[in-house]
């Protein structure tokens, strides 16, 4: 296996009850790259993202076929603890969802509960907030409730919270769709910065965003992966006509 591949999907089918949400997905995600998943609503891109840290386990009546390898190990194998996977695969959600706790405790929550080495929690909190480019804005109000922050700040806090777990991969499910343009720009800059150390897989509705920040882009339609290639290629000269139609806004 190619050494810079971190996640490998092999013939993945996924069902909500009787209806199939993903059909025969086979694809690889590469280390330290930003991969974007695009496609119209209901195409299965968010479902796929949530498969990668086994968040779909939380939904009743779902079923998966096929294999997903994370660093050569099938994360859907019987002996795998999903909790273990989620520690290595962090997630940022569509709407900022800080806990109703202080800023400090939002960051410290995960490390404290997962028996990470927490000797120097203060440093970890500072580090994570700095990585998420939030430190300067909140360093004096660490003991204030996170609910008082603006939407953009909350989202960066959520990113910092995920980073505090020192994951290998960061999954982002439309992380800027609930934010204003200025906050969006900040998050995009941040993603640019983070890909030096992390593998980022991002679902986005916003085609320009995918074009701006990602290295590779996969286009999904009705549960199928239509095309997956270098972002530049997808946006300038896609192989499939369908992809071109979507990107140029002819449907979607």
């Amino acid at each position: 296996m190619d050494s810079d591949i971190i996640i490998k999907l092999n013939k993945v089918n996924f069902y909500y009850g009787q209806s199939r949400a993903l059909t025969d997905i086979t694809m690889n995600f590469r280390k330290n790259k930003v991969s974007a998943l695009i496609g119209p609503s209901g195409c299965g891109k968010s479902t796929l993202l949530r498969l990668l840290n086994r968040m779909n386990d939380l939904i009743d009546g779902t079923r998966i076929e096929g294999e997903i390898f994370f660093e050569e190990k099938n994360i859907y194998a019987k002996d795998v603890d999903p909790v273990e996977i989620r520690r290595k695969v962090g997630m940022v959600f569509q709407k900022p969802n800080p806990f109703p706790k202080t800023i400090y405790n939002n960051i410290a929550y995960g490390p404290k509960l997962t028996s990470m080495n927490t000797d120097d929690l203060d440093t970890l909190v500072e580090q994570s907030l700095k990585q998420a480019v939030l430190w300067d804005e909140v360093k004096d109000i660490l003991n204030k409730s996170a609910m008082n922050l603006s939407g953009g700040q909350q989202q960066r806090l959520c990113i910092a919270r995920a980073l505090a777990m020192k994951p290998d991969i960061l999954l982002m499910d439309e992380p800027t769709s609930a934010l204003d343009p200025i906050s969006t720009a900040k998050i995009e800059e941040l993603i640019e910065e983070l890909k030096k150390n992390y593998t980022i897989i991002i679902v986005t509705h916003n085609m320009q965003q995918a074009a701006r920040i990602s290295d590779e882009t996969a286009f999904f339609y009705l549960g199928n992966m239509v095309e997956y290639n270098k972002t530049e290629k997808i946006f300038t000269n896609p192989d499939v006509k369908h992809t071109e139609e979507y990107i140029t806004g002819r449907f979607g």
Binding site: L58, D60, F93, Y109, L113, R161
Partner: protein, 296 residues
Amino acid sequence: MEDMMKSFKNNSMKWRYFKQTLFFGAVRLSALIIALALGGILFYIIVNGIGAISWDFITKPPTDSMTKGGIMPAILGTIYLTIGAIAIGLPLGIASAIYLTEYAKQGRVIRLIKVGINCLAGVPSVVFGLFGLGFFVIFLKFGSSILSGSLTLGFLILPTIIGAAEEALKAVPQTFREASLSLGVSKWQTIYRIVLPNALPGILTGSILGIGRAAGETAPIMFTAAAYFTAKLPGSIFDEVMALPYHIYVLATAGTNIEATRPIQYGTVLVLVAVVLSIDLIAIIIRSYMRKNKRW
């Protein structure tokens, strides 16, 4: 009248609005009657009962075959029984609700459990009394005691508490759970650290209404805990107690001199109503405050 009807039918819009006015009048009247019923009952109890209330009435035991003196043992007994009911109903209720909202998947077992809870909620209080007598007092040999009464009341309020806790747990946004789980925090820790603390105020206010019910119930404690009169205060959970609701019933129906003890009866009723309704009122106020200051 005949003419009026005709003119209404000729002018259909007017007729339609006339019906509406009539209906709205009836609807408002119904609401008014209900409000007046509560107001009337409270007013009557307060006016007649306030004269009996004094420091001695609340802090002294009854004397002269319960025709004089206070109601302190009954107040104390009600407090004991209510605390006992909470100690049993609250943890069981919260634990049930945690399973139902956090762990259970839709299916037959859950449906059965929910029907069971609804049926338990509908069991008449006197049947709870018989159950307490047959099971705790006789079968488990706890005797007529604080323990038997508390267990009976605890199971009586269990469905109320489960309902309140379920509602409060469901009100905690799913995104909180997802955020915690996505960090690799286990399910139980997520429930314990995130879900429960955020649901707790709602659970407690919802449960208070059940607790008010436990304090005011008579039939379930008649055969399981309540004594007509006790010379001593209870020393352990295996002792019988006097209780406010039963004391009212006894004085009003079987006292040595029913007419002469009316003031004491009114006084006791007032104390019970004050206790129960202030418990309820506190719950209602906290709840409306919480709704206005919702953090998420």
